[in-house]
Symmetry: C2
């Protein structure tokens, strides 16, 4: 793996001085084109061993390129803010938008490698981390990102020389710490792990590029040229977007027309009196639960999806009505903003992942991808087919971080929907709630039903199950939502307690 | 995950009787088209819980379809033959060729699930197995296979009913074993594992299709219709082969023109006398090693690659000269046969993986993919880019099964090659060894050199390292090959011993 990066590569000063001005000019041109077209983001990871020039490379690239279109992220120890979210959150928030370059010093590989080298994790755990990294990278490249992964390498001998050199120079002495020497002592252990990381995560979409780090001129020119080539090549072919063929068996509706939605008993009713008693009970319970000291360690994400006019807003208000306003946030999901369109589709949801002790309620959610975007052909079949895995992966990351994920599908019948649409048309203050689009969606009832069933089948998991809510009667729906939410919070609290 | 498969799906007899003849006819037509075009293989996995009708489904499909184009594989306990090879070998040997359907009752998921349910493995190990399964499936679908994965499900209640029903009927009593009831007792444990398997391995290319297994008519019609749809859809678009865009940064030659090949000292020489002494020593050693009783537990795969006329044959003969003819096999790799062309490209190598106590020598190998196929454009950039990962994965499977993988690159200079080509032209009995193609390849020397360096950098791993052999002097080369082989066998033996 490291053969070519231990040969003693070198570039002499005169060659370097002759080449750099041309390279810089070309890089600036490429950057300008990239920003102008804004078709894809460029994500550059700079990894490697201590003393191989990772920091210098980042500095140099910042010097060579236009700082307006490049963002540098030194991924050191996570902040408190970051520790309260799943591990990948800090990377999601740092992703560059289309047209820009994100330069990462340290990446999703840094901590898995360190933890393994220090004996904190086992080999199988490292493998799991690497698979998570691969899934993230696959999602990024599937979403169109250009991902360039540099690994700066030094042989054991060269690393020692380099550390001593830095240490002996008064100007650079501060850069060599005890930690560097500790790592050096474990060189062979690290090497084995690095090899395994590079071998397992050099995919066709995002292979590692290993570069010898000893000679700064060789290293800098190589990194610069590869970035230039990669961006130029992608700019040249990004216009003819190739649609990927889906090679999977198609998802078909059930042959006996029976579906989970059809089995719901939508006729059930709850009279006003019983409703009010239940409402008081469960709102009271929710109020106590969210004010319990143990709630400080709990994070809740509640997702509301449902047919148009199914009453999502009403149900949400019954929740927020009993929770302290500082504790919750409601995120209505409409068309994505310009900033959001410049990012992978899950980005707009990752940015709202709450801290501990908070509840975030999504009024519509990431499930738009496999519902409206699927039915209306806003994305390709390949895109929504891979979304099931990406969504499960996203939610598994939330759950692994002890976030309670509660997902509601509010179901009404076609007749009930019509009744509500007509009512909205008539009632002045409700008229804003009904649009042409609602009527159009209604015509595709069967297609939506198929998409909903596939969604539940493919994303209702033991860790993040869907709750189907019979919503023809608003009272029934509101109580079921409150009750489910209380139950899920309670069991999460008990899990905290019993630890 | 299993919501829709617990609804009590049913198809009544008259509907079934009306639909089946049409379905069978359509399936036979599709099968015929598939065989005629022979563009891709169809791989169908039938998984699921006991009593959900897996066996019946396989039988029915065999009854419905043309047995000439369908191969059924009941993947029970592996045979002795199979136990001596890596786990995946039995699946590779069973893969259907293009134009045929392979029906698998039991799959690469069976044992990982069982081992986890029985507490033999941990969750992290299950994850590792699933990742291996995903890599295999990705390779299969990347190679064009249509992969359909059925999961036949029963609720706990239904499973109990079904097992009792089978048990109470004298005709089917034999089908219910103690093992079935043992598994039933662990229903919940299995369910959790099944859910995790389906969640993690439902990829966009090969999602699981979960089907309720209780009603045989519903089950059979559903399976039949999905197979029909999937094959028809793929037949319809398999003609317009879409080339996948490579989104990775391009692999560039080193900017200082220094490469691992250029650092080899090709001028070194070994005189005849010293050579003969060394030859005797190492051939003797190899003879002893391969006749040692501990060698019975060792498997060796030696790979020979090198420039044209680098002397691979001569080096191989120096090995085989000292090994018992029953112990070794030399596999010369030329253009693939018709049968091999109908399979994923690694298939022709998997079929030659030896049993224990044997040595298999490949004269050229799977590395053709990233050498000649890359340089001559015999495959797309996407194909050879993913090959590095696939090859590393293949070799890792061999090594995990304690196979010693020794890889030699025999390097000669451009001048030396010319000298040998000229000599071959002149010498009558060597004339067959030189073709027009050799001269053509020679013109692409630089491109090949780049491909060789990338190959070594990306596939030389600590578990399966490349040995670069300076081969301008044949004596030097032959001794280095023998010495390396002996050393690798010795250390594998010592590892066995110290266990």
């Amino acid at each position: 793996m490291f053969e070519s990066a231990e040969l003693g590569h070198k570039i002499d000063k005169s060659t370097y001085d002759a080449e750099v001005p041309r390279l810089r000019e070309a890089l600036l041109d490429a950057q300008f084109d990239l920003a102008k077209k804004a078709k894809f983001p460029v994500i550059i990871l700079i990894g490697g061993v201590d003393g191989a020039g990772r920091g210098e490379t980042v500095n140099l690239l910042n010097e060579w390129m236009d700082p307006r279109f490049i963002e540098t992220h030194g991924m050191g120890k996570p902040s408190d803010e970051e520790m309260e979210r799943p591990m990948m959150w800090r990377f999601w928030r740092a992703l560059p938008p289309k047209g820009k370059i994100g330069l990462f010093l340290g990446s999703w590989y840094t901590w898995p490698i360190l933890n393994r080298a220090m004996g904190i994790t086992k080999a199988a755990e490292l493998d799991q981390s690497l698979e998570r990294a691969k899934r993230l990278e696959k999602m990024l490249t599937d979403e169109g990102a250009l991902l360039i992964k540099f690994w700066l390498h030094l042989s054991k001998e060269k690393q020692e020389t380099r550390l001593k050199l830095l240490e002996n120079n008064p100007k650079t002495r501060w850069r060599v710490t005890k930690r560097d020497w500790d790592h050096f002592k474990r060189y062979d252990k690290f090497l084995t792990i690095h090899e395994s990381v590079i071998r397992h995560t050099s995919t066709a979409e995002a292979p590692w590029i290993v570069i010898e780090g000893a000679d700064s001129r060789y290293r800098s020119l190589t990194v610069g040229k590869i970035i230039l080539e990669a961006i130029s090549k992608r700019l040249a072919d990004s216009d003819k977007k190739k649609e990927l063929a889906v090679r999977a068996a198609p998802l078909l509706p059930s042959i006996d027309k029976l579906s989970i939605l059809k089995t719901l008993d939508l006729a059930q009713k709850l009279d006003k009196k019983k409703f009010e008693a239940s409402l008081e009970k469960y709102q009271g319970k929710l109020a106590l639960l969210t004010r319990d000291t143990r709630f400080k360690d709990i994070t809740v994400i509640a997702v509301f999806e449902g047919n148009d006019a199914a009453g999502k807003g009403g149900s949400i208000r019954r929740i927020t009505g009993s929770v302290d306003a500082r504790q919750y946030q409601v995120i209505p999901i409409a068309a994505p903003t310009e900033e959001e369109r410049a990012q992978p589709y899950l980005w707009r949801f990752w940015r709202h992942v709450p801290r501990k002790g908070r509840i975030t309620i999504f009024d519509r959610s990431w499930y738009g991808r496999v519902l409206v975007e699927r039915v209306e052909n806003f994305c390709t079949e390949a895109d929504w087919m891979r979304a099931y895995l990406e969504i499960n992966d996203f939610e598994a990351q939330l759950v692994r971080h002890k976030i309670v994920v509660v997902k509601f599908w509010l179901a009404i019948s076609q007749d009930e929907q019509l009744r509500r649409f007509e009512e909205r048309k008539k009632t002045g203050f409700k008229r804003f709630k009904i649009t042409e689009e609602d009527w159009r969606n209604r015509e595709k009832w069967d297609e939506y039903e198929q998409a909903i069933c596939d969604m539940v089948d493919r994303t209702s998991t033991s860790v993040a199950p869907w709750t189907l809510v019979e919503a023809n009667d608003k009272n029934i729906a509101r109580i079921k939502v409150l009750k489910t939410l209380c139950r899920r919070i309670e069991s999460a609290m008990n899990a905290v307690e019993s630890k």
